[in-house]
Amino acid sequence: MSESEKPVSLQSYFRLCGVVFLVVLCTTSAMIATSFAHIGDGWTLKVALILSIAVVNAFLVAGYLMHLLSEKKLVYTVLAFTVFFFIGLMGLTMWAMNDFPPGTAAH
């Protein structure tokens, strides 16, 4: 049974939402603190750290608010295809980043 089919108690959802909001508050603060902290020489490490925290934030929203932690198999299948194509989209973009056709100027 998916989460949305289970019997619902408003009180338990209040508690869940309170916890989720607190964690979102903490992760957002952590992202801002990381952004302004002196970490490494450039932005690479900072960007990696900030995006990692954002992933935690996203997991909370998707897992608990969207009930993805207890969904039907078909939803996971749809999302598995989406993740595959999304990785392909980003991966091919980065793969092609320095692949300049012969005769064209590279900056």
């Binding site: 998916s2 949305s4 089919e5 619902v8 108690s9 408003l10 959802y13 209040f14 939402c17 989720v20 909001f21 979102v24 508050l25 957002t28 992202m31 801002i32 990381t34 952004s35 302004f36 932005w43 900072k46 960007v47 900030i50 995006l51 925290i53 954002a54 934030n57 996203a58 929203v61 998707a62 608010l65 969207m66 039907k72 198999k73 078909l74 939803v75 749809v78 999302l79 295809f81 989406t82 194509f85 999304f86 989209l89 980003m90 973009t93 980065m94 980043m97 900056h107």
Partner: protein, 267 residues
């Protein structure tokens, strides 16, 4: 003829129609925003050293908007939970909160856009740059005819790179005051709109598309809030499913912002 599986789950998929539909739609939305995010990566990595802006956006406003959207996602979930326990009054209260939070988000976003559109960078004939927010243009100001003056609240820099990192100690210590420039001294002039550079182009595109999603989602939620009573009386289970589906869309919009905020405001 009655449409099947609007309330009950299909035996083969385990989902009612609208829920499968919204997940397929969200999958396509991931690819839409994914394309733009990959464009962002391409533009950022391809920028010349020192020419990718940092600190151009107001982190405080971005943070407020992040929390507003998180709260609205929570009120959306609570509105659905209220429907599940058959409490229509609480549903109305929670969804009213969602609408108010969404409108506040859009109001703040509009303020940010306005701030960028009145922010000008003027390249002067002597090679320096005047940068700041527009105070006034003289009535006879005409850049093409080279008449009149324009006044900015900002400062003058010798190198455009000085305008890129607003978190640098130099940028923080820069003294901002009113600068009046004659049209005859101006080589080129433009605001920080989408045409300014690749950062503002992708910023306006990503946040504009996201704001459109917020606007569309708000309209749908408002429709259910204002006119949902009729279906609630006749078919509350189906109405609850509609609230779940619109909620899933709303959570997706929140998810997109969770990545937009750090990517644009913090890095």
């Amino acid at each position: 003829m009655e449409i099947p599986y609007t309330v009950q789950a299909r035996p083969d998929t385990g989902l009612y129609n609208a829920k499968l539909g919204i997940w397929l739609f969200l999958a396509s939305e991931v690819m839409l925003f994914g394309g733009l995010f990959s464009a962002y990566v391409l533009l950022r990595v391809g920028a010349e050293p020192g020419m990718w802006p940092h600190g151009w956006l107001n982190v405080t406003l971005g943070t407020i908007n992040t929390l507003l959207l998180a709260l609205s996602a929570i009120t959306t979930l609570l509105a659905w939970a209220a429907c599940k326990v058959r409490d229509f009054t609480k549903f109305k209260i929670f969804h009213a909160c969602t609408i108010l939070l969404a409108l506040t988000f859009l109001g703040i976003k509009s303020y940010e856009y306005h701030d960028k559109l009145i922010h000008y960078e003027i390249k002067l004939n002597n090679g320096t740059f005047a940068d700041g927010h527009l105070v006034e243009k003289s009535p006879d100001f005409d850049l093409a005819k080279k008449t009149g003056t324009v006044t900015l609240h900002g400062h003058i820099v010798t190198d455009e790179k000085e305008l890129m990192d607003l978190r640098s100690p130099e940028a923080k210590s820069a003294k901002h005051e009113e600068v009046t420039v004659a049209a005859t001294d101006i080589k080129s002039m433009g605001n920080y709109g989408p045409r300014h550079n690749t950062f503002t182009a992708i910023y306006f595109t990503l946040t504009g598309l996201h704001a459109l999603h917020i606007f569309g989602g708000t309209l749908v939620i408002f429709y259910f809030w204002a006119f949902g009573g009729a279906m609630w009386k006749t078919d509350p289970e189906r109405f609850t499913n509609r609230i779940e589906v619109s909620g899933l869309f709303w959570h997706f919009v929140d998810l997109v912002w969770i990545f937009l905020f750090p990517v644009l405001y913090l890095t």
